[in-house]
């Protein structure tokens, strides 16, 4: 499929694969590893062809042990390499949380900058495609409560490529969570060459004045659907795609909410303790006087993401639920 010169239409997996390819080419210290990332190219094919291209020393399979993968990567990073680890699904990050909470985010701080961990940990996350139990988890809130780590969640191929290349170039540990639902669903023009996009910036992906939808990852698509429906009724919703959860770009969020006076926070993780709570809290602390309605959250229910596929779509927020929340804040 031919697009305008210098770009091609890619889906998210292809864009990520291209970013990994360029990173390996760009810096010989770059390593890519995890479960099934080598010969197989990853269960989602994100590393497809890279072992063949860069060899088994730089792109390799590891034993089946997430704490080992993250710990090994921390060691490689402290000794001067640029590790990119893939955790097969975000729900399988849990065995590695000790390495994450005890070291990944603390090493620079505890050693006063002597030892640092320029490492990227990629993981597919989120629901919507009837994966088996625990394959649809959204643990970003846990990672955002870890000092010293950055958390990036892209929502489109062009952004995914540039943000991943920035994450890999970053001097600190970065989690890069990839929405499974968007891996192949979304296609877009992606520049061919190496480029980076700034971390720490939120993005207004749709302008509007009626209310602000604050979201990220797999929920951006959902909010866009909702916004289209609302637009037909003449209601213009603004959508802010956070992209970087930590360090959070509070400024862009506040700017939007101060303009619209109404905020709906959308995320698919369990509602209580989800990262959306942090967004609400910041608005309630810094933009209260501009609010004309309560800050409403649309999120997963206070239950595990159901392993029961027949009902899974009732757990994950959809346009309908987002619109109900919008109605709530508009009619308040």
């Amino acid at each position: 499929m031919i697009a305008e010169r210098g770009t091609r239409v890619l889906n998210n997996v292809q864009a990520i694969n291209e970013a990994l390819d360029l990173a390996l080419e760009h810096d010989p210290r770059t390593l890519l590893f995890g479960e099934d990332v080598g010969v197989m190219g990853g269960v989602f094919r994100a590393s497809d062809g890279l072992q063949a291209k860069y060899g088994e020393k730089r792109v390799f399979d590891t034993p089946l042990a997430e704490a080992g993968i993250v710990g090994f990567g921390i060691g490689l990073a402290m000794a001067g390499m640029r590790p990119i680890a893939e955790i097969q699904f975000a729900g399988f990050l849990y065995p590695a949380l000790d390495q994450v909470l005890s070291h990944l985010g603390r090493m620079r701080h505890r050693t006063r900058g002597r030892h640092t961990i320029p490492m990227v940990i990629r993981a597919p996350y989120g629901g919507g495609v009837k994966t088996p139990e625990q394959h649809a988890d959204s643990p970003e809130a846990v990672l955002c409560h870890v000092p010293g780590v950055k958390v990036i969640i892209p929502s489109s191929p062009e952004r995914a490529k540039g943000l991943l290349l920035s994450a890999i170039a970053d001097p600190d540990p970065v989690f890069f969570l990839e929405p499974i639902k968007l891996y192949r669903g979304v296609k877009a023009e992606v520049p061919e060459d190496y480029y980076t996009l700034p971390l720490g910036k939120a993005r207004v992906v749709r302008e509007g004045d009626a209310a602000s939808l604050l979201c990220y990852g797999g929920m951006v698509e959902v909010c866009q659907k909702a916004a289209e429906v609302a637009a037909r009724e003449g209601v213009e919703l603004e959508i802010v795609d956070l992209e970087t959860l930590t360090p959070l770009d509070t400024g862009t969020i506040l700017e939007s909410v101060r303009k619209t006076g109404r905020a709906v926070v959308v995320y698919e993780a369990m509602r209580t303790g989800g990262f959306g709570a942090e967004i609400s809290a910041r608005i309630a602390e810094e933009a209260l006087d501009f609010l004309q309605a309560p800050i409403v959250r649309v999120a997963g229910w206070d239950a595990p993401y159901p392993p029961f596929s027949a009902v899974e779509n009732f757990y994950r927020p959809d346009a309908k639920r987002v619109l109900e929340a919008v109605r709530k804040v508009l009619t308040h």
Binding site: D36, D302, P306
Partner: protein
């Protein structure tokens, strides 16, 4: 220090099923064992068809590993426990799980995930190796409660790399828990061969790090697995603690119904292993002993198909799961948050 790089492998049947010597099982046991293998195989084959028809979710096939699972289940008593990974459908069938529940289970239907009260099995585990320390606790509880029941926990070669495998084995050994740790070494962890998973030749050697026996059985030889598991179970019942049992087998099927092995392995190897097929091998044994013939085989096939169709019927009869069930069973009593969610899902708010 001295090395024991090789552990002799328990084997009773030649590749074609011919007994290599006296068998530790009676004729009835041999027949019973073969029927159990065939029952499992029949389910696996029919399940794959259902899956292809979109009537099951992701399904982890166990073709070729029947003996490794059935042999262990046959060595257990009704009051023992099975703590499986996701691949142990064959063990579950032999241990008494109704086929209908297993169909529902692999359809990701809540009706299948609630194991019947009279089956001491925990629903299939997805997070690798987490079942091992839990199984140690279940096994230890039997002793605390003054029973001589045991638990059998299943894990794969890849799973042995996880920290929980190590912690579970250490707890089991320190507390002399009546536990069988069954490692089905099927050569692969999705696309990663066992030799890339660990440096050691034999997984059973890991037992030495915990001061417990490590046993290797030909995983495609039902007699070998059943015998080894029975000895380990007896040892555990006596209060002598856990045993690590490695069954040497092969994952001739894809990792799951959504995997394509041609991306990472030469299927020739699978072909080689198919020649050691545990079901055919056991049939060979029975035939050799004059205990089996074509008529018996056909009758059994019909019987199994009838059983499966009945189970399918029963599964279809299960009520559709309701959206509000999502927030049920989070706590014994719903908290205010679940109540709010529940009301919404019932359309009452």
């Amino acid at each position: 220090m001295r090395y024991t790089d090789l552990v002799e492998t328990i084997q009773f049947l030649a590749d074609d099923g011919r007994p290599l010597g006296d068998l530790p099982l009676s004729s009835d046991e041999l027949l019973h064992g073969y029927r159990a293998l065939r029952r499992a195989r029949h389910f696996d084959e029919r399940a794959l068809v259902l899956q292809r028809q979109g009537r099951l979710g992701v399904y982890p096939l166990f073709r070729g590993q029947e003996a490794s699972q059935v042999g262990v289940a046959l060595a257990l008593r009704k009051d023992d426990w099975i703590v499986p990974s996701y691949r142990e459908t064959a063990a579950a069938i032999t241990f008494g799980m109704p086929l209908s529940r297993l169909i529902l289970s692999w359809r990701a239907d809540p009706a299948g995930w609630r194991i019947p009260e009279d089956v001491n099995m925990i629903q299939f585990y997805i997070p690798i190796a987490t079942q091992v320390p839990q199984a140690a606790g279940i096994a230890h509880a039997q002793r605390l409660q003054g029973r001589d029941a045991v638990a059998a926990v299943f894990i794969g070669d890849g799973g042995t790399s996880e920290g929980d495998f190590h912690e579970g084995l250490n707890f089991a050994s320190v507390f002399d828990a009546p536990l069988l740790i069954v490692v089905q070494n099927n050569g692969w962890a999705i696309s990663v061969p066992t030799r890339k998973q660990m440096k050691v030749q034999r997984i059973a050697l890991k037992a030495q790090g915990y001061g417990i026996p490590g046993v290797v059985a030909d995983g495609n030889d039902l007699v070998a697995v059943w015998h080894a598991a029975r000895q380990a179970a007896e040892r555990a019942r006596r209060g002598d603690g856990p045993t690590l049992l490695e069954t040497l087998t092969y994952r001739i099927a894809p990792h799951t119904s959504s995997d394509d092995p041609s991306r990472y392995r030469d299927e020739g190897e699978a072909g080689e292993w198919a020649k050691k097929d545990p079901v055919l091998r056991m049939r060979g044994c029975l035939t050799h002993l004059g205990l089996w013939d074509a008529d018996k085989e056909n009758a059994l096939t019909e019987e199994l198909e009838t059983e499966f169709l009945a189970a399918l019927e029963e599964a279809h009869a299960a009520p559709e799961p309701k959206p509000w069930e999502i927030v049920e069973q989070v706590f014994a009593e719903m908290g205010p948050d679940q109540q709010r969610d529940w009301a919404y899902l019932r359309g009452e708010s």
